[in-house]
Structures are given as structure tokens and as C-alpha cells.
Amino acid sequence: MDQEQLRKEVDEIVKPWEGKEGNLIMVLHQIQNRYSYVPRDISFEVAKRLNVPLARIYEVITFYNYFKLEAPGKNIVSVCLGTACYLKGAPKLIDEIEKQIGVKPGETTPDGQFHVQAVRCLGCCGLAPVITVGQKVYSAVKPEQVAGILAEYSEPATAAAAS
């Protein structure tokens, strides 16, 4: 993104919040939602616009799990580690995912295809253990199913093999 475009986009996001108390977190939320992470050059621009030191912005970004500092993978794989899923074998799913695509929770595959994260309860304990990829929920997942699930999203379209 060129500097001009960046400034325009930040301006759009910041304007409604200017001068309001607690605006930093609201602005960061919108940035996170828009870009799926908070890019550093955007943080610099926000610092300037809101007159907040960059250090404070990074304190907030790194404090809350919600904010990300790196561009996430194209497909976000969430493995539930809530109590029910945990007991039903979610840690094994995490191991299996690492075996398949070589990344641990919090990491993104080098090709940017998958970002894996461990999450707490997804609110469907009856389906434990649960994995979601994007918005799609996979229930009662067994380790041997992991390869197939991931294949649905892999490029080039190897998805056919899985379905």
C-alpha cells in the first residue's frame, strides 16, 4: 500500500474516534477487522493521528490475543482446547496438524496457506473435539481425519481427493 493510500485508509478509520476517550482500542479493532492484522506502518500512522506513542500501541496489541502483528494465513485453522475438547483428544489433533503442515499453534505455514491457532471453548462441547477452518466447523475429529480436512483447503485443488 502506498503512503497516500495508507494515510487515507487510516484517516477513514480514525476520524469517527478522534478526541474520544478509549479510542485507541476501538481504532485497533477496526484495523484488525479490516486487515486481519495490525501492520506496522499503519501503527505508525495511528500513533501520529491519535498522538499516542508507538510503544503504547504495541502494549495494547500484544496484550490482547485478538490483535495480530503478522498477516494471518489464508485459512485459519482453530483447534479448540476447551475442557471438553481437551479431554476428548484435542492435543492429539494439534500434534497431527503439525505433522501434516509443520506448524504449531500461533504459526503460519511459509506459503501463507494455513494459520493454526489454539482457542478456548468454541461453544459446541457436544461436538468435541472441534476444529474450525474459517467459518466451517468439523466435529468429533479424529487425528486420522486431519489430513483430509486440510486437503480441502490446500492449493492446487487437491480438495477433490478429500471429498
Binding site: L54, A55, I57, Y58, E59, T62
Partner: protein
């Protein structure tokens, strides 16, 4: 007034006095670790817990106000055992590297461990795997040793308004770091070193240049010379059991000579020289309308860095005069070398400074090599010198004092007070007033610019002209002064000041980032007193009366602000980005 009891001792205090402060009044010492007297309580560590009769909670003394009728118990078996647990828990995340740590024997955590007789840590040990950052060559960050007390962050953000350091992440993963995964050298850090002066452990300390000094001293080809800053003479004693503020100038000269330095100079001489140049600059700008007002002092390298990063619009206001030790460095490799027939490439200049930022200043820009070589080769802090004296085998405590080498060593009282906030201003006024009136001042003291109040504003009368002055120390206090100047300029109003002095560290150089640990206002006052009493006791108290400075202009420099002075003694500034990354 609030009346209460601490360990059954009656105590009476102002409302909102903390239990910790109240206890001090009745000679009760509650242990602290995260709390520093300069800073507001963060209530982080929990070692200062006490008990209040009638309650089964254990409040923290650092942030709990003493209330009417309270019965506070500061020490009993259970309290002591909780404090031990706090220490054991801290040690479960702290490396056992005391023997090789930069703070060995001077660590607040280590002394508490000793006091409480901690012999083993019953918890699993987990030391975070965080890299050391020595990127800026002045301050070393070792986040593995951080106990998350938050002092450095409070200092960097609130006291200094630099915002280089912050806590990133949270809970167990909390760490100190500049914003994002960048190094200190890419951050806004101005190298004032106040973080290192306030850190209770070895997580932040000065970059150790003493090996380079020893190497130079051992090199038979080099001619090593040394100079000591104004503020070092009244603080180094703290490392050797002297009272704070005791002036040990002759003993330091003697120790340095024994360590092998061929000539012992004094930065106070450079301070006198700085005043000649800076007061001339002021008179030019004030009386002859040549140049921008207010004039702002530039002796403090952390302040220069801060200005270049955050207040680039103030560049025209800055005095172009170099800091005193840079002047001495430049002259050691020209004037001194020529007079003594020494090859200037073999002269090795070491500065002993109360300061960490001086380590950066010595190669700040090409002007710092005005002699044709880097004018000052290395800059050591007071703390590094103390260690070197111990290594050298010199019995500092019973050493006979000696004299300096006069050529670049003689000084007046004006030079010595440079080490305290307001001192540069006072020294400059003594000489500027003389330049304007041509007369000897009836009274040399300018009490209104002394003391540890964060911003001091005053007006003085020089030959019928009103001179408006501001003195600020602690970088957060600068904003108020700079804002006033900026607003007046924007609105075309009368200037709020004609002359501004800024020192980055609270108290000025006596409270510098490279000074002995444990600084508080009480200590800053005692150290400054040491300087002011030396000034009072001297016959010559104005820089323009310094015979060696007069001789230097006669024999070598010509006149103040002249061509040679300009080349050797002045510098330039430029805007710098706040972040490099």
C-alpha cells in the same frame, strides 16, 4: 493529621502517606523491590506486604495509605515467610548468574536474597529465552534478568517521555522491549541511562568499555590522557564508602595517574571553555540580535538526541557549542599534542562521565572528530571507573590527593557547578553578565536556578535588560518549556524566555544515568551540595577568569566564536527519525 501505630509505635503523618513512608518515620524498614522513591508504586512484587490488625488481608505498604487508628504489623513470622516465598518465586524465573552479572554485589534482588537467607528455590526453574540487546553501544538490555517491576518503563515513559521501553505481551510472557521486535538502536532511546540507574537487577546496565580502556593503557605506543566530568568528583566516593557529595577530585587525579594515564585533565576546564563560547553566543543573540532566541544549552547528549528526534523545529535555538568533554578531547589532540610534540594519532582520550549517552556522543557526527581523529576515544561511566580503580589495586580510600595537568585541567567554580541542574545556566549568566556590563558581578549566586524543582523559571536583570530564563531537568519537564516557546512563536507573541538550560537526567549530571546506583532526591541534593560548596570555596568562580582558558585563547584559539573555535569547539544538529524501523 492521621494518627496510627506501626509495630505499636505511635506515628502521626499527613493524610495519604503510605504505610511504607510512615514506617520510615519511626525507623522501621519494610523491604521493597519494585518500589523506587522516584516513582509511583506499581505494587508489582509483593515483598512489602504488612498486616493490619483486625483484617486478615495483607496489604502492600508501598501503595496503602496509613489510616486513622490503624495498627500495622510490619514483621512477624508469617509476613517474613510470605516475603521469602515472593523472593523464591522471583528466583524461579531469574537466572542464577550473579557471579557474572553486571550488577553483582550491587543488585537489589541479590541483597534481599542475602538478607532473607534464601538458600534454595523450591519451585521449578523457568528462565525465558530472550536475547540480549547491546545494539546501541551504551545501554545493554538483558530481558532474561528482568523481574517485571516496571521501574524502567515508568522512567522511560513518564519521567523521560521517551517511550523507548514498554512491556509487551502479558502474564507469564510479559517482557521489556521497544515497540515491536526491534533493537534499542532502532528505537527512540536517547541513551540517558535512567532505566539502568533505576533497574533493581542486571536487566539493564551500561555498555562496559573498560576493557578497551585497559587495552589502550597497556599499549606502549599510545599516549593515554583522561578527563573527569564535574559530577563524577562528588559521587565516586559512594562506591568506596564515602558520604554522598564528598569531593574527591585530588584522589581521583591520583588514582588515574597510578592507573597509567600520562596526563590528567578536567572536564571542568572544558566547562569553562564551553561557557566562554556559549555566553558569547548568548550575547551575540541577545544583545546584538544575531541568531535565534531563546538560546538552548546543548551540553547534554541525551537532550541533544531527544531534541533531534522529537523537537527538530528547535534546532536553530540550540547552542552550537560542543559539550565540555568534547572540547577537551579536541584540544588534547591539537593544542596539547602540539605543545608537547606528541603525534596526535597516538593520543588516546578517555572521558570519565556520569553519563551513558556520552558513549554515543563521542561519535555522534563528524564534528566529533574535529582534530582529524575521533576527539574522545572512549567514555566511561562513574560506575566503570569505580570498578577499574578496584581492579588497578589502588587503595582509593587512603590515597593522597594530587594535582591535575594544568594545561587542560584548571577550572573555576563555574565549571564545577555544571554537574547540577541550573549549573550551566548560572555559570553562563556569570560570564554573560560580565560580557554585557564589563563589570565584576557583585553577587555570583543565582539561587533561583538551583534546586531540584523540575522546571525553574526566573527573570534577572542584566544592565537594565530583563533576561527571562528557564531551567528544566528530567526530559518530561522539557515539554512544558518547549511548548511555551513554540506557542509564542506561532502566535507571534513575546518570547517567554531568552535562555533555556536542559539536562536530561533529574537533578542534572549528579543524577546521571552512569552514576552510582540507588539515586534518590535526597542523594541528588547531597551530591549537588558537594559541587556548590566547592564553587563557594574557590577564589576564581567565573569561567572568563580561568587563567588556562585565557592562555588558550591567547596562544591558540584567538577569540571566542572565531574561526579556530568554530572548527574545534562547535557542532551542528539535524532532525532524526524517532524510529529507525
Amino acid at each position: 493529621m492521621v494518627k496510627a501505630w506501626i509495630n505499636d509505635i505511635p506515628v502521626e503523618v499527613e493524610p495519604n502517606t503510605t504505610i511504607l513512608d510512615a514506617a520510615k518515620l519511626v525507623q522501621v524498614k519494610i523491604p521493597t523491590l519494585c518500589k523506587h522513591p522516584d516513582l509511583k508504586a506499581s505494587a508489582g512484587c509483593g515483598i512489602c506486604i504488612v498486616r493490619v490488625q483486625g483484617s486478615n488481608k495483607m496489604p502492600r505498604a508501598c501503595c496503602t495509605p496509613l489510616e486513622e487508628g490503624m495498627h500495622v504489623i510490619t514483621h512477624d513470622a508469617e509476613i517474613v515467610s510470605v516475603r521469602k516465598t515472593v523472593l523464591e518465586l522471583i528466583m524461579s524465573n531469574h537466572p542464577d548468574e550473579c557471579a557474572t552479572c553486571g550488577r553483582n554485589t550491587q543488585c537489589e534482588l541479590q541483597s534481599l536474597l542475602a538478607d532473607f537467607g534464601i538458600r534454595e528455590v523450591p519451585f521449578d526453574k523457568f528462565i525465558p529465552d530472550l536475547p540480549k540487546d547491546a545494539s546501541n553501544g551504551t545501554i545493554v538490555l538483558e530481558p532474561r534478568k528482568c523481574i517485571k517491576c516496571g521501574r524502567c518503563i515508568e522512567v522511560c515513559q513518564q519521567m523521560q517521555n521517551v517511550w523507548a521501553l514498554s512491556f509487551l505481551e502479558r502474564g507469564f510472557k510479559t517482557r521489556i522491549s521497544p515497540a515491536g521486535d526491534i533493537t534499542l538502536s532502532d528505537s527512540p532511546c536517547v541513551r540517558c541511562g535512567q532505566c539502568s540507574a533505576h533497574c533493581p537487577t542486571g536487566a539493564i546496565f551500561e555498555f562496559d568499555d573498560s576493557p578497551k580502556a585497559w587495552e589502550a593503557l597497556g599499549d606502549p605506543d599510545l599516549h593515554c590522557v583522561v578527563q573527569i566530568a564535574p559530577a563524577v568528583r562528588v559521587t565516586i566516593g559512594e562506591h568506596f564508602g564515602f558520604e554522598p557529595g564528598v569531593n574527591l577530585t585530588p584522589q581521583i587525579y591520583a588514582a588515574l595517574r597510578r592507573m597509567g594515564f600520562k596526563a590528567i585533565f578536567d572536564t571542568n576546564f572544558g566547562a569553562d571553555l564551553t561557557i566562554i563560547e556559549e555566553a558569547s553566543e548568548f550575547v551575540e543573540r541577545f544583545a546584538h540580535g544575531k541568531g535565534t532566541l531563546p538560546l538552548i544549552t546543548s551540553c547534554c547528549p541525551a537532550w541533544v538526541d531527544f531534541m533531534e528526534k522529537f523537537h527538530g523545529d528547535m534546532i536553530d535555538h540550540f547552542s552550537t557549542a560542543k559539550s565540555p568533554h568534547e572540547m577537551v578531547g579536541a584540544l588534547a589532540k591539537t593544542y596539547y599534542a602540539e605543545k608537547n610534540n606528541i603525534d596526535p594519532s597516538k593520543v588516546f582520550v578517555v572521558s570519565i562521565m556520569p553519563c551513558t549517552a556520552k558513549k554515543y556522543e563521542i561519535h555522534r557526527n563528524p564534528d566529533m572528530s574535529s582534530s582529524g581523529f575521533q576527539d574522545v576515544d572512549i567514555s566511561l561511566t562513574t560506575r566503570e571507573l569505580a570498578r577499574m580503580i578496584r581492579q588497578s589495586g589502588v587503595d582509593f580510600n587512603s590515597l593522597e590527593g594530587e594535582e591535575c595537568d594544568h594545561l587542560l585541567g584548571d577550572y573555576t567554580g563555574a565549571g564545577t557547578i555544571f554537574g547540577a541542574t541550573g549549573g550551566v545556566m548560572e555559570a553562563a549568566l556569570r560570564t554573560a553578565a560580565h560580557y554585557v556590563t564589563g563589570e565584576k558581578l557583585a553577587k555570583l549566586e543565582f539561587e533561583n536556578v538551583r534546586g531540584i524543582q523540575g522546571v525553574k523559571e526566573t527573570k534577572i536583570n542584566v544592565a537594565g535588560h530583563e533576561v527571562r530564563i528557564a531551567v528544566a531537568h528530567g526530559l518530561a519537564n522539557v515539554e512544558y518549556v518547549i511548548d511555551k516557546v513554540r506557542k509564542a512563536k506561532e502566535n507571534g507573541e513575546e518570547l517567554p524566555y531568552h535562555f533555556i538550560e536542559v539536562m536530561a537526567c533529574p537533578g542534572g549530571c549528579v543524577g546521571g544515568g552512569g552514576q552510582p546506583y540507588g539515586v534518590t532526591d535526597e542523594l541528588r541534593i547531597k551530591r549537588a551540595k558537594g559541587l556548590y560548596s566547592e564553587d563557594e570555596g574557590l577564589t576564581l568562580r567565573c569561567s572568563h577568569e580561568n587563567p588556562s582558558v585565557i592562555k588558550l585563547y591567547d596562544e591558540y584559539l584567538g577569540k571566542p566564536l572565531g574561526e579556530k573555535s568554530h572548527h574545534l569547539l562547535h557542532t551542528k544538529y539535524k532532525r532524526l527519525p524517532v524510529y529507525q524501523r
